[in-house]
Structure formats: structure tokens, C-alpha cells
Symmetry: C2
Subunit: 248 residues, 2 copies
Amino acid sequence: MPNSSGQSTKFVSNSANCFTCQWRERSQWSTLNQDDLNVLNGHRKDADVKPGQILFRQGDPCDGVYCVASGTIAIRKMDEHGNSVLVRLRHAGQTIGYRDFFGGPSMTNSAEALVESRVCFVDRKAVAALLERNPALGLQFLQRIAKDLQDAEETILQTTTLPIRTRLAHLLLTLKERYGRVDETGTITIQLPLARQDIAAILGTRPETIARTIRGLDNEGVARFSGRTVVVENLDRLLDEIETDHMA
Amino acid sequence: MPNSSGQSTKFVSNSANCFTCQWRERSQWSTLNQDDLNVLNGHRKDADVKPGQILFRQGDPCDGVYCVASGTIAIRKMDEHGNSVLVRLRHAGQTIGYRDFFGGPSMTNSAEALVESRVCFVDRKAVAALLERNPALGLQFLQRIAKDLQDAEETILQTTTLPIRTRLAHLLLTLKERYGRVDETGTITIQLPLARQDIAAILGTRPETIARTIRGLDNEGVARFSGRTVVVENLDRLLDEIETDHMA
DNA sequence: CGGGGGTTTGAGTCCGTTCAAAATACGTGG
DNA sequence: CCACGTATTTTGAACGGACTCAAACCCCCG
């Protein structure tokens, strides 16, 4: 059933450069020395991907790993009935596909650009060679997968216990870290990289519910929404949404 | 808020033995040679844990990893409001706590015996020493965490898309693998290691809902429940529950 | 026999869904 | 730059699955 239509992105360009990549120090590649970097950079291809474009599909063979140079990528998982969720977001500087690189023969989910992005692809053999040369790299991946698992368990807990409004507040708070800007008065402006239906897919609900929930937050002045721009004037109001749980 | 009451299990006994452990070949320790096994066995303690007894709590420092010699252990995660879910089950032959061993300083969830069990504990330093001696061990852990992450994502997908009845059917199917017995007529009998409230905690719902859902399956003859014994006479009936989705 | 935790059942409510339609945003070509 | 077609978002009304609260039941154990 997977890999039903369309084609995955072809990585042919070579305009990026690992040596000058601003994200390298914060990525798992930070452990690589100059020689290693030469290997990495030599086996790297990149591509410019447009919103909606697919990097790879669930079920595709795992040919290597992907690095996000800029933009935002959605990782989706679907079942045999066509149900799907947006499992996680990957941002500039993050790597994609390493779980399946170690875990299984094929991709267990698909990757799609949400906004115009630039992505690098590193061939399977190159990754294997680097792991051989530099054992610390494996530990880096290990720690990242461990973190991903923590996040996934956090998501499980939240989706089964918290109402959608609270989960949306959580999402806004995490998006704030990466896409938010604070002005002198303390007002926060977030440029969402997500369409409404993608917000729905992250929270595991329907677009209609998201529209209503957003309207609710907007009406009550917790956050002002217009298109993909969110303005939060009073951060405490938003924090209250996740504190109180609106249970007790 | 975590680690609120009671005390974790003390591991003092030394009645188990890694060399004769029947699960070793199927575990990540299968890569260890005789010398390595000596290290492992020398730094191992074990304990007999009763139903409801706690191995460790969320927030505890991560002092090492745990091996289930027999029985079933529940891994639970809770948030600051007291909400909790049963994130996964660990059975005889499986290891516990390796995610936090690599990922973070402290335990991100707690472990509790569901039935009378025997569990080994391996000291943090011993695990580190073994990883040093045998790099393949790290890869083994890597693959297991990757698998755990796959399972977690599968759970996320199911909890957000499937109704509880279908999820219960899924759960029964997986429990069948480990706790099921098939007689000559093809009838399957499953001895659940779980109380009703734990089934609820796995599916992310309330005990009342589980009681009603079980009653539904029972009434319709999909599976007969009495206490912790489940009898499935026609496996196809159960499989239909997850096939059709009862959507289209 | 009398707790006491776990399970079941019942009735009412609510949150989120479904289906359908209107409104808005977006991209493309004239 | 505007007009048009398409996709996304919003709104409405009705429905339904799971939750809440509460009581009864059960079973195991002392």
C-alpha cells in the first residue's frame, strides 16, 4: 500500500558544503574530524524541495540519511487503512532517517517539506564508513534516537490525557522556541511553518477541530491568529493553558 | 512530584546466573564472549518482585539496567498533573532502562511488576565497561531503541486513529504471541498478565470503558473473557476487528 | 464475616467527529 | 492586474464515542 503515487525527490545538486554548514557543530556530525568531513562532504548530494514535495515515502528502501539545511520537514506515518499522523517535525540542522538506517530495511514513515527547504542526502555506504572510522558518531546517533523515543512517549502521554486545546498550547510553546520572535514589549510573534491541517495531523485530530480551538484561544485573547502568524501578548495566559489542565 | 512514596526494590540476591540464563542468546548480551559474561555476571544482582512492586520510579537516578528473568513488568509514564499511561510491557528475556542509560541522567518513567517476577540489575559501571570491551553491544542497544521508537510511533498512530475496541483487539493479538496457547482444535487461550485497569492504561482510557468494550466482544462471541483468561475460538473474528476498522 | 481493592453497570454529559456548505486564500493564465 | 478555478479553512448542526460520577457487585484475604 505504501509508496503509491508520485516520486521521491532526486538529489543531484552539490551546492551545499559540510565544512561551512552553520549547523554542523550542533549536529551529530560535530564529532567528525577534517578527514571524516571530507568523506561526508564527498558523498553528499543536495536538493531544493518545495512545499508539499516528498523526500521519501514509507516503505521505500533506506538508502541513507538526510540533513535539513534549511526549512521544515514533516515526518508522517500512515497505516494500511489510510489513517495518518504527523509524527514529528524536523528543522534546519537536524538529521532525518537515522532510525530506519539502524532499525530496519525500509522507511517506516515518509518525509515531506512543509515550506521551501534545502536538504542534503548522505549515501548509506558513506554513513557506514563514517561509523567505522569514528565510533563516537554511533553514540551520537544513539543519544538522538533515545531523545526521539522520549519525545514519542511524551506525545503518547499527552494525546491520551490532555484535551486538544491544551495540546495546541503545548505545540505553540515548542514552535515558539524555533519560529518565535520577541519584541521589546515582550510580545511574541510566531511564524508557523504549518498549515491548519498539519496542526491537526500533529495533534491527532481534524482540521475543523483545530479551526474551532484556534477561534477559542483567539476570542479569549490568549493568542491572536491570522493566517500562519500567531501573536502572543501575554505568555502567562498561554502557560496557564498547560498548567491548570482545566481539570481540577 | 515524581518519586513520591514507597521505596524501590533492593537488589541483593545473587541466585541467578548469566551463563545459564535461557534468554541470553535472544538478548543484546548475545554478543558477549566468556570474559565479557564474567564481567556481566560478576556485577549482577537480582531480586524477586511481587505484583505491584516497584523496580524504580520516574525521576530516580539511572544507576544501571534491568533484565527480566521471568514475569512481566509495566513501564509507566506520568506527568506533573498525575495523569499516567502504561507506555510498554517488558517480558522475560527483555532489558529495561537502557534508553535512560544513554539518553539522560534520570529515569523518565517507572517500572512495576504486574505478576510475580524475577529481575536482574546490572550496575551502571559494569554496562559502561562492557560497552568499552565490546563495541557490538552498543549497536545491539541501538537497534533495540530503534525498535522501541518504531513501536512508540505505532502506538501514537493507533491511539489517534483507531477506536478503543480495535485497539483492544490489537492488544489481544500481541499478547497472544507471548501468553497464548493453541489447542488441537485451533482454540486460543490467553492468560493475561494484566488487570483491567492496566489494559485501560495501555490503551489510554478508563477501566469502565474497558469493561464495556470487553463485554461487547464477549457478547458478540469474538472472544470469551473470564477474569484474566481469554478464549478465542475463531481467530478470524478477532482479525476482522482490526481489518475492517469499522470505518468504510 | 467484614473489609477493601478491583470490576461492572447505569445514566447523563461533553468533547470531538461527521457531513455539508460557505468563505477565504492561493496560484495560474489571460 | 484581474479573473477564475482549486484547495484550504471556517462555520454550522447533529451525532456519537468515551468520560464522569456514582452505586452495586465481586472476589480474595484476613
